[in-house]
Assembly symmetry: none
Homo-oligomer: 193 residues x 4
DNA sequence: TAATAACCGAGACGGTACGTCCTGTCTTGCT
DNA sequence: AGCAAGACAGGACGTACCGTCTCGGTTATTA
């Protein structure tokens, strides 16, 4: 079963994702219609539906194009590893497309479990796995004791970024990366119980 | 020149908010239409528009009905104060109406600054102010040194809750309240710089 | 149950029928879309659908507007009565709207029995009844013998008109009225069996 | 320089006409799409378009396959000749494909003169010529006087058949053949003027 | 107690978008 | 050159909401 028929125009592939990106950034998720995307891409609704089943799928594709797979660097120290992860996350959450499409995508994900897990698998899981591996390496080195709650550490690292992506409580910058990493290290090394 | 004419039917006031609440919880924000709300409330679109200018305004009204102003208790200890704040926040973020309407409201707020600040003033600012006051009292008591970043502490406390409200990374429960308060205290008392 | 709500704009009632009439005459039945009718009427598809469930129904309404109920005159003689009927029929079949919409309507009627009987009842039955009554009067006067086949006489009178409405075999004019009436009289008074 | 390349698959020639015939009989003219025909014929639109420029052309081809050229028998008597013509016409108008496709074809013919004359030449003219020749022979035999209107006689013979093919006013059967031939003979031999 | 002003239900209005279907044309690889 | 497969621009389908509007009818207050 090789590929048959007229091949899809790659120009349209990118034109559609470009149009969606621009419109969502300009108007927000709920104001963006498939119709407008097709119009701006200089094509028809049909060509869009041929490629993507719905608006959230278009945006997932557009986001995937921007944010490839996580590099998951090993810098040798826990702090270095976590800072690397946070730089990656900051690049993600500070992106205008992410900021504008995230609420809509989350709304959609809450209804459509299929789409939710797809979204989760594409953008959340890889970053969490990087963090988990960095922690494991730190335990093996003896830098931190075992027995921490990985999920909680991940939420601690990501939560504030999500917060600032969705609400204007503060900038998403280098300083925030340092603050979150410090907080995580404080928690991991604290004697409090 | 007070108010003339037939007064509004209070039954409709509540029927509309009830209908909106039920529909958003069941279908999510983007799938909820003013038409459906009016229908379910047993009235007409016009009666809805007479009370609220748009869907997000309806939801803000519905949320305001559920979540009154923050009590801002003074328990005597920083930990106690923060735990009180977090219990209040957990009640908020764990509410199904909040979980389902938050993405839509945030999307709308990103576009309409007016609405954004209204939303912010109603549900974010009071809780942040409670936290800020608790911190001030702790400084005055000498429990913590001065010079911390209030905004950052607030984001540290709220971020993980928001995270779990929007993504299925973990439960929003008593344990999370303790974890976030511990993290905040670790940060506030840490010697790391 | 009196009439409630905002009344329909009568301007649109006529604008829609006008638009449909013009378009069908210009482009034919199958090339006429509801969309184009709405556009030409200066309104929306919704307003059209609110009044008529489908294209054939629009055309039946447009035809009804042009061709009221049959006068069914009693001229005193069979020839006079039949000529009156045929003048009425000629006016009908020579009408451009009829010529252009008839094929489409018949096609639709062949599929949708409901619509078929509606069409039949509005435009065929009344004219056939006039003819039947004229024949009955002639029998009572003793002008023609009893025992003829009414349906056949009606088809004999109408068939050639329908033929010339749908195919360019000849004009639909006064002469055709005379020819068809003569033929019917020949048949009714013939001794052939 | 005759014909190059792969020859057309004759299987498709008939499969396409079969599919068109079945679909038009089942769904009527306007509901029949080229797409559906190709699908049912187990081929593609392109193969259809390669053979026929449009839906009406397909149907003309399908009709031509069923109804060859007129035999035009000479039975020796005018009545016999006309009855032969009418048997031929009855076979035509009683055919389900004819009954279902005729309205659509006529609609199309009213717009596209080219197609109209093609349709006319294929199915109307031959039958009318047979009738004309039968009449000429009768004149030469002295059975009827000269000076009749051939076109009118043809419409008189065909009109009622067309009527009953398109509307449910009566059966298209042997009796109708006799009635129409009698009517024509009555008219041709009548002294009325 | 009469006028007035706002509310209510019902439903029409011009718009925009939905997701699907079909049209006639066009590549592409294979026969 | 034919064929299966399938993409392309374009147009229409019938439906759903949007926010606004016009009706007839119903309360309350104010004059």
């Amino acid at each position: 079963m090789v590929k048959q028929g007229r091949p899809r125009a790659e120009v349209l592939d990118t034109a559609i994702l470009d149009a969606a990106t621009e419109l969502v950034i300009a108007d927000g998720y709920v104001s963006t219609s498939i119709d407008a995307i097709a119009r701006r891409a200089g094509t028809t609704r049909q060509a869009v539906y041929r490629r993507h089943p719905s608006l959230p799928h278009i945006l997932i594709a557009a986001l995937s194009r921007r944010f490839g797979l996580d590099p998951a660097a090993d810098t040798g120290s826990l702090r270095g590893d976590l800072v690397a992860v946070q730089h990656n996350q900051i690049e993600f959450f500070a992106d205008p497309l992410v900021m504008r499409s995230l609420p809509g995508l989350l709304d959609e994900a809450a209804r459509d479990a299929e789409l939710g897990s797809q979204l989760f698998a594409a953008f959340v899981t890889p970053r969490r796995r990087s963090t988990a591996r960095a922690l494991e390496r730190a335990v093996q080195r003896g830098d931190i004791p075992d027995g921490y709650d990985t999920e909680w550490i991940c939420d601690l690292l990501t939560g504030p970024l999500l917060m600032r992506a969705l609400m204007p409580t503060g900038p998403i910058d280098e300083n925030l990366a340092q603050l979150t990493v410090n907080a995580a290290l404080d928690v991991l090394t604290a004697t409090s119980d």
